[in-house]
């Protein structure tokens, strides 16, 4: 019956009555921020003409529809002083753990997707989509292999007049570390742990493709459908998206800008601490402390 929320001194993430992330409170201000998993069905072409290719290993080519995977999410909430956690179960093959650690200004979303079902005979490409109130006006930024952020404008190219026949995939860009929208007041950044495709198909929206399973070859060379299996079933993938929401950079502020904070987090994502574990049953705590360990 309670409204579910998790957070720390710096931010609070709220969930709605259906179990979806619904808003975030940062610096005393609450902003709508929804998250959901959706899937595109892969286009089935005859591969005989350039404009009639199937969606496959080389190309993302949805058939134009997108579907939410569920209307209701099952939640389990775990709260402690160190970390507050929401376990979300979207359906039999998609779940997610959302964590907010004490003292941290980011939200960690660990997704688990697969095996993607294909018993209905359709290939599926799964995205994690975020919807905010950032008035992005068609503009978003994606990284260039971890280096400078490149400005992308929806349905536009820098050097020619664009007539997009495929408005979804035509607005997808590679994201190897970060995708951002920023309206000069508020800023939403998603940092990923692996190379993915991503876009902002509507103002205030960001999405990253997390997994795909397709049943036709796209005839660009591989000669097989992107239909990987393990132990006789479709692949299961697990990964993380790190979300940061805050005020846009203000050059007069003495505190680190939001972009600078994202850069520090990016470093930690891509160069995390190396964890070494050694069984210590044969020596005591005292022995451990007395050694120059």
């Amino acid at each position: 019956e309670d409204n579910v929320s998790i957070g720390n001194d710096l931010l609070t993430v709220h969930f709605d009555e259906n179990g979806f992330m619904s808003s975030i409170t940062v610096d005393g201000a609450t902003h709508p921020l929804k998250q959901n998993f959706l899937f595109y069905e892969g286009a089935y072409g005859n591969n005989e003409e350039f404009r009639n290719r199937s969606s496959g290993a080389y190309i993302f080519r949805p058939n134009g529809t997108e579907k939410a995977v569920t209307e209701v999410v099952e939640l389990q909430v775990v709260k402690s002083e160190l970390v507050q956690v929401v376990h979300q179960i979207f359906n039999e093959w998609i779940s997610q753990v959302i964590r907010v650690y004490a003292g941290k200004d980011h939200v960690e979303l660990e997704w688990l997707v697969g095996p993607i079902p294909i018993d209905d005979g359709t290939g599926k490409e799964i995205v994690s989509r975020f919807e905010s109130d950032v008035a992005s006006e068609g503009v978003f930024w994606t990284d260039s292999n971890g280096r400078e952020m490149l400005r992308r404008v929806r349905n536009k190219r820098e050097t020619w007049n664009l007539d997009l026949a495929e408005p979804i995939s035509g607005n997808y860009y590679p994201v190897t570390s970060k995708i951002v929208i920023d309206d000069g007041r508020n800023r939403l950044a998603l940092l990923n742990d692996r190379a993915q495709g991503g876009s902002s198909l509507q103002d205030g929206q960001l999405e990253l493709m997390v997994h795909r399973r397709l049943l036709r070859d796209d005839r660009f060379g591989v000669g097989e459908a992107l239909n990987e299996t393990q132990y006789g079933d479709g692949l299961v993938a697990r990964g993380k998206i790190f979300l940061m929401f805050g005020q846009s950079s203000n050059s007069t502020s003495q505190s680190p800008t939001q972009a600078a904070k994202e850069r520090f987090l990016q470093n930690k994502i891509h160069l995390p601490s190396w964890v070494f574990i050694a069984p210590a049953n044969e020596f005591s705590l005292e022995a451990y402390m007395s050694q120059d360990n």
Binding site: Q76, S80, L82, Y101, G221, Y231, F276, A278, A287, N293
Partner: protein, 180 residues
């Protein structure tokens, strides 16, 4: 040098975009995985040798290093099956850093201490059922022990002693409250 060259060779092959994108046939993907695995295993001899040299060749610190290859499904044979562990975090960044460590463990009462013997706050969080139920997961871990490793020096390290102990009512570490 032979072991390192095995990994150099594998990484040379992996420069091809097919090794990342999924634009290779399945048997090629399997072959990439085989090459990486064999090179990775070969280099474990170098890792073991280097770490044992760093630890001063003392018998008590001579370990048979292995990799926790199933950490991505919250499984680790070491942390699940040993009541006492030394956990060391090496910070590869050029500035001080910190980390929240999550170790797969069985349900129980755990105490984390730093290198001065002081107790470090920790908590147990249940592993989601969606992970526990993965058909290929072979692990006894039902929880993750979470603690905060603070102030790890630039290109330095910090170690912790993690022990499974009898439960005390006034324990600093316990299973976090669960609300359904």
């Amino acid at each position: 040098e032979d072991h390192l060259t095995a990994l150099r060779d594998a990484m040379g092959v992996m420069q091809h975009h097919d090794a990342i994108t999924g634009t290779e046939k399945q048997h090629v993907a399997d072959d990439y995985a085989r090459m990486l695995y064999e090179a990775f295993e070969a280099c474990s001899a170098n890792t073991r040798s280097a770490l044992n040299q760093l630890s001063g060749e003392r018998d008590s610190f001579k370990f048979d290093w292995t990799y926790c290859k199933e950490a991505n499904v919250s499984a680790c044979a070491l942390t699940e099956n040993s009541d006492n562990n030394v956990v060391l975090l090496y910070n590869p960044l050029g500035h001080s850093s910190d980390d929240f460590v999550r170790l797969p463990v069985k349900e129980g009462h755990y105490v984390v201490r730093n290198d001065r013997g002081q107790t470090v706050p920790s908590t147990l969080i249940s592993i989601p059922s969606s992970v526990l139920d993965l058909p290929f997961r072979n692990s006894a871990a039902t929880h993750e022990l979470v603690f905060h490793a603070e102030s790890i020096a630039p290109v330095g390290y910090r170690s912790f002693y993690v022990s499974k102990e009898e439960e005390h009512k006034d324990a600093s570490s316990g299973i976090a409250t669960i609300r359904q």
